[in-house]
Symmetry: C2
Subunit: 270 residues, 2 copies
């Protein structure tokens, strides 16, 4: 049985380098399509294009995207182009296009994280979160918010109570949003992590600046195959300046591993 | 008078989308060409290609590069392709090629940081460094190191004494390298910041893992036009795992502004 998520990120290979997709209206926020969802659609096309490669390259080890125009629900095309296939990784350029408009351009380096060594020397610490049942489900948002953000129905997001003051006019001002995340009908994998890194509300909500924060650029590193279960996600910004801000995201799996890191540059909400 | 740096990153426009360059042997480390230098060569070509645009777009606001093969000193070509020109930014794809080998593929979004608003809400703190004259000049490295890293002659780098324990077999283990940086004969600008974010030794030196750490992907955000004078540079890693590590870089100018941030994914030295 195909999960909703898999159906929504599905692509059909029309030719070796062209894939068609249907951007699902359920992944919109305020009329725009969520960036993390778009990354997974493009990432799925790149993965499909590499499926027949001599060596398996299923995992988006490094994925960089520049968002150049706002996607709309409906038909889209992903065009891919092989840059180079090396000993352990393959790099592909990809573009998501609707009509004659490029929506995003990406560079993706894929590898096989199942082959990675087990060495770990990590000083990063996972976010300290209350138990899932003590966190705030995104579904608890007022009906008018849910109507504007159908996205909230597509994922199970439980925000740290310390990260939701903005919902009652009391943002913490720390520039920090964190919580538990899972897809309702599917375990995480290295592809869906591309969605996870851009699924929470913009971290600027916690700075008292609500509103849509369009991404200019996002680069994600997928560092390990995630274990099943809830993910812990943390978004942090430390440099809001010149109308722009960076947003760093860490994703930890249920086994306590840092499975993805990303950094994006976005425009402040007006 | 042209500075050495400007001469080394110079490009010649051969056609609207093709630029030739000479990769200078002075920017090598252990036979490979420094990644930050390559970013600036490619960034210079993108900038040159945008010079006649209706609105000025001189600054590499977001620059993502995937390094797919090792560059060699000598002739190189940068091919560019316009992705989209929007109201305030222009996005270009670029590749650096030697012979028939792609060395790196990049996506670059350029804008005009001189037009940016002055708002700042920053929690990031600049690195605390001893005065320049109390730091350790890279030129103090033993002759055999300098012979292997001609790069060290191209820049004035003064490392925090707390960041050079590795040179005497006592790395701090924090995964932190920081110091003062300037080009010997030129003030910083938004282009040279692309070099600054990848000019220090790999942060893994501070973990007792010396050796070349090839970059897989590097994304840089240039956030402000730097003031003249010394820059403060900090490299940090928190997640060494699976044979890879991330390296975050912050660059602060003499006016106390965070002028560039980058994150790269690199392979651990063998």
């Amino acid at each position: 049985m195909t999960s909703d998520y898999d159906a929504h990120v599905a692509v059909r290979q029309e030719s070796p380098d062209v894939f068609s997709a249907q951007l699902d209206a359920g992944w919109t926020v305020g009329g725009g399509v969520n960036g993390g969802y778009l990354l997974a659609v493009v990432g799925n096309a790149v993965r499909a294009g590499l499926a027949d490669a001599p060596a398996p390259r299923p995992d988006p080890v490094a994925f960089s995207a520049h968002f150049v125009s706002a996607s709309r629900p409906g038909a889209a095309v992903v065009r891919t182009r092989l840059i180079r296939s090396g000993g352990t990784t393959t790099t592909v350029a990809a573009e998501l296009v609707q009509g004659d408009q490029v929506r995003l351009a990406a560079l993706a380096t894929y590898g096989d994280l199942g082959e990675a060594s087990d060495d770990v020397a990590r000083t990063a610490q996972p976010p300290q979160l209350p138990p899932v049942e003590q966190c705030v489900p995104a579904g608890a948002a007022p009906p008018e918010v849910r109507a504007m953000a159908p996205l909230l129905e597509r994922l199970d997001l439980r925000l740290d109570p310390g990260s939701v003051g903005w919902a009652v006019g009391q943002p913490s001002g720390r520039g920090l949003l964190q919580g538990w995340f899972r897809l309702p009908d599917r375990e995480p994998d290295t592809l869906s992590l591309l969605t996870v890194v851009d699924a929470l509300p913009p971290v600027t909500f916690d700075l008292g600046r609500p509103g849509w924060a369009p991404t200019i650029e996002l680069s994600a590193h997928v560092r390990a195959v995630p274990s099943p279960g809830w993910l812990r996600v943390r978004h942090l910004t430390t440099n809001v300046a010149g109308g722009l801000f960076e947003e760093d995201c860490d994703v930890w799996d249920s086994a306590g591993r840092l499975v993805a890191q990303s950094r994006q540059l976005a425009r402040l909400p007006r």
